[in-house]
Amino acid sequence: MKNIIEYVWLVPLFPLVGFLLNGLLRNSLSKSLTGIIGSGSILASFIVSVLIFLDVKAGIDGPVIVTLFDFISFEDVSIPFAFQVDQLSSLFLLIITGIGFLIHVYSVAYMHEENSSHFARYFAYLNLFVFSMLLLVLGSNYVIMFIGWEGVGLCSYLLIGYWFKNIEYSNAARKAFVMNRIGDLGFLLAVFWLIGRIGTVNFGEVFSKVDSLSSLDLTAITMLLFIGATGKSAQIPLYTWLPDAMAGPTPVSALIHAATMVTAGIYMIARSNILYTMAPTTQTVVMVVGLATALLAATIALKQNDIKKVLAYSTVSQLGYMFIALGVGAYTGAVFHVMTHAFFKALLFLGAGSVIHAMHHEQDIRNMGGLSKKLKTTHLTFLVGCLAIAGIIPFSGFFSKDEILAAAFMKNPIVWALAAIGALMTAFYMFRLYAMTFLGKFRGTSEQEHHLHESPPAMTIPLVILAVLSFAGGLVGIPEVLMHDSHSLAKFLEPVFAESNRISVPHHPDHTTELLLMFGLMAVIAVVIFWAIGKYKKYEKTPEENTGFARILENKWYVDEIYEALIIRPVNAFGKMLGKFDNFGIDWVVNGVGRSVQYASRQIRLLQSGQVGSYVLLMVIGMIVLFALQVFLKK
């Protein structure tokens, strides 16, 4: 029997089959069958992924390339449709299929109100998304990665606009797609640049030829790739689509806009780590952008009242942390945070989904409160998620965030300080959210209160599993300072980042400093948490509005408005103007030629006066002219 890795194409195949079945037969399948196909296909992928992961863990000799067929080839450029299995991709396979499966299961219950045709459509989209995401991480070259890259963007578009009757939702979907597209073009340009310079896009060949690229090329390529990443991973300046993307069903937010798709940018940079290591300018840019995003999103999250919006901005903020990690060269840390973030953010979103489900699609936390009594499982798991994201030891978020902060500290203490402030804000807004939702007393309508109920097991079981993972997931990366040689993730990923690490050897702060920073920060976080809980436990609805800085934060720094005024409106006006110009400018000229011919016709016609005398006169004048010409021309 061949190695299971050779069958890696099965992993994306199952979701694809699921997509086709659900999509084509959506009118004839029953809901339960749809659910089984949808979830089952992901489960099958998960099982294969686990087998592959085990195989990889058991040790492979460098990345394994599985070529399916020749995709595009011209001249001497050949782009195969091939998959690459190595430590990084196998890890992502697990995250995607694992969390994906849980969310599929969760969705079966969450979406049960939809009629069967739309229900099938939902699962078809979801399966298609998983398929695209798998392509993204499995692709053995930038083009296949780009296919997945755009594919996930498409699925995100489809799922955000899932309730297409609502024009607001479809606006959000369009916004997401277009902003992603802007980033994608950067990616695409980088691909063209690579082809132009070294004639290949296959990861292995690109990385081995990295020395032949000039530093300008490297900077350009990495910057362009990073532009792609800002779009997909919602960084400044292209982050505004992600909060709006919460228009989609909550499980979608959990899967796509928290756990998987938005981390594609991190995956891509981690995959191309060697390029970035060779381009320090870009690295700095990545770090600065990541830091700025982390802080900006965190400030906005402080004042949001929509349960999903808070989580969305928190996602943006956490993604910022991952980019800080990438920017300072802590690739392992970034991947680690991707993993833990996937656990706890999926958990938080699913928890929020459970709350929303219970509240009959109420999302405003000012109308919640005291839900801990009715939604026990949800409450507990949500709390785990909050603790994890806040970075309380030994929850998973602690380890990954600590690794990033430690690396940032080594780069520059100011970066650490700013990131730490961000972490404090994270703790604050998460527990503000927690307190307003679950503590205090219920502030919604009595009808809502009457219907409050815990979600069905299909929803709670995934919550529990994710809670466990959020709690324990960090244990694969215990820092050296706490336990010697137990960072098994770093060891596992070592081959992927070996070259980068060789070029710029990662420094670790000495143990005392690290411990001091670690626990000093945690102490402050703890204080912040208690402050937040205390402050918002007794929250009462007040009619008065926020003023001053709070208002700016509530309105998200007015970034959407600025974009609207600076880009969207001028572009629309420009389009309108050009449209006018086309009709009254260019076409006027074209028609003007016709008109002037007609005008000339009207005028010249008058020469034909009907008078013999004038005819002869004109003839004589013509003769005179011809003779004059002849005399003039005579040599």
Binding site: Q598, R602, I604, M619, I621, L629, Q630, K634
Partner: protein, 458 residues
């Protein structure tokens, strides 16, 4: 020579037939048969069979080219008789005389297609012109016809005066009227007389082919003349004069060291411009066709302009294509009760065959491929490109050709795309078949122009 003598004899025969025959049909049949005979005689001469042995003292030279043209002109006339003979007899009571005059004109055409002396050119042109003055005025009760006739006559005589002055000057320089002496070195110094004389002759010929700025008579005369004669004038006669012009050029201007190309280029451009531009605004199809004939003359002038093998082939083809199409259109026009564009509205519904054939003729005039008109224009443009100078003229010509599409297609638009009840005179099935045959010829020759051109290669 066959054609010249026979056509004169036939003219006389028809003249007398008016006295002895009262039946218009009989006259018509005689005329048609006579024209067929004339055509046969000319074809016989092409094959080397001469009916008469006449010593012309080198005043007439019967070239292959001229004879082929004669055949084409006579076949066109035959076709014209076939589709329109009935309308000729309807113009007035003097049917036989009209046919006689047309035969005399044919005689004139045969003369100018083979003249070798300026005297014969002059006589030929006059033999063509004088009967035309009469035919133009043949609708005696119609003031428009009278007016057209008088205008044509006055201006035609004026141009005759110009031509004579030119011939006199040429004679002064070369001491001979013979075309062969045009390049003789006798009195080579008197080029100023020679060139001025040639220019004057050229101007009067340009007048006859209605080139701008000597075209002014054309719209009025074509418009005022009985439509059936307009058809004849605009096609066969004009082509005949063109052949004379080409011959004249061939034998005098070319190689004379005289830089005539610019003058011809200017005239050509002016003709194309005036013809096409003015045609746009016309409301009457007949008058539009008059202007279009000016525009077509502009294209034919390319044959004069470039003077190479392409232009000679082209002018033959152009003559054929233009005559076929124009005769066809006029044949339809005669049947229309209203000559304005509105009068054609909805013709496709009432008379689909007429509309379809007219469309094909118009496409041919516009020079659209798959019709003979395309090859006609193609050869003209190619000859100009080949001559290599004055490329701006070619560009100008194609812009004008594009303009011409506008007014030709106006007729098509009226017939097909506008609603209305176009009224026509009663149309016989034979007439329809004839038109269909002509349309088919336009297309077949448009795909295989070699059917005609091969006669020029042997």
């Amino acid at each position: 020579m066959n054609a010249i003598i026979l056509s004169a004899i036939l003219g006389v025969i028809l003249m007398f037939s008016g006295i002895f025959l009262t039946s218009k049909t009989a006259i018509r049949n005689i005329a048609t048969a006579g024209m067929a005979l004339l055509l046969l005689a000319n074809i016989a001469e092409q094959g080397g069979f001469l009916l008469f042995d006449v010593n012309t003292h080198n005043m007439l030279v019967f070239s292959k080219f001229g004879l082929l043209f004669n055949s084409i002109a006579f076949s066109a006339t035959l076709l014209f008789f076939l589709v329109s003979a009935k309308d000729i007899t309807n113009v007035g009571i003097n049917a036989a005389e009209y046919f006689a005059l047309i035969f005399f004109i044919s005689c004139g055409i045969a003369i100018v297609s083979s003249f070798n002396s300026l005297l014969l050119l002059f006589l030929g042109i006059e033999i063509i012109s004088i009967p035309l003055y009469i035919l133009t005025g043949s609708d005696k009760r119609n003031l428009k016809s009278n007016e057209a006739s008088l205008k044509y006559f006055l201006m035609g005589s004026f141009s005759t005066g110009i031509m004579l002055l030119g011939i006199a000057l040429v004679y002064g320089a070369k001491a001979s009227f013979s075309m062969e002496q045009m390049h003789s070195s006798i009195n080579a110094g008197r080029n100023a007389w020679f060139y001025s004389g040639l220019l004057l002759v050229l101007i009067s010929m340009l007048f006859k082919v209605s080139a701008a700025p000597f075209h002014f008579w054309t719209p009025d005369v074509y418009d005022g003349a009985p439509t059936v004669f307009t058809s004849f004038m605009a096609t066969i006669v004009k082509a005949g004069v063109f052949i004379a012009l080409v011959r004249l050029f061939d034998m005098s201007f070319v190689g004379s060291g005289y830089d005539w190309q610019l003058i011809i280029a200017i005239v050509t451009a002016a003709t194309l411009f005036i013809g096409n531009i003015t045609a746009i605004f016309q409301q009457s199809v007949k008058r539009m066709l008059a202007y279009s004939s000016i525009a077509q003359a502009g294209f034919m002038l390319f044959g004069v302009f470039s003077q190479n093998d392409f232009s000679r082939e082209g002018i033959i083809l152009y003559t054929l294509g233009y005559s076929l199409a124009t005769i066809g259109i006029f044949a339809v026009l005669i049947k229309m009760k209203d000559y304005t564009f509105e009068g054609f509205n909805g013709l496709a519904r009432t008379e689909p065959v007429l509309a379809a054939t007219t469309t094909i003729f118009l496409l041919s005039l516009a020079g659209i491929p798959l019709t003979i008109g395309f090859f006609a224009k193609y050869f003209m443009l190619a000859s100009a490109v080949k001559s290599g100078s004055h490329l701006w003229l070619v560009i100008f010509a194609i812009l004008c050709a594009a303009i011409s599409v506008y007014y030709y297609f106006r007729v098509i638009q009226s017939m097909y795309f506008k609603t209305g009840q176009a009224e026509t005179e009663p149309v016989t099935p034979v007439f329809r078949w004839l038109l269909a045959g002509m349309a088919a010829a336009v297309i077949i020759l448009g795909i295989f122009p070699n059917l005609v051109l091969q006669y020029l290669y042997f």
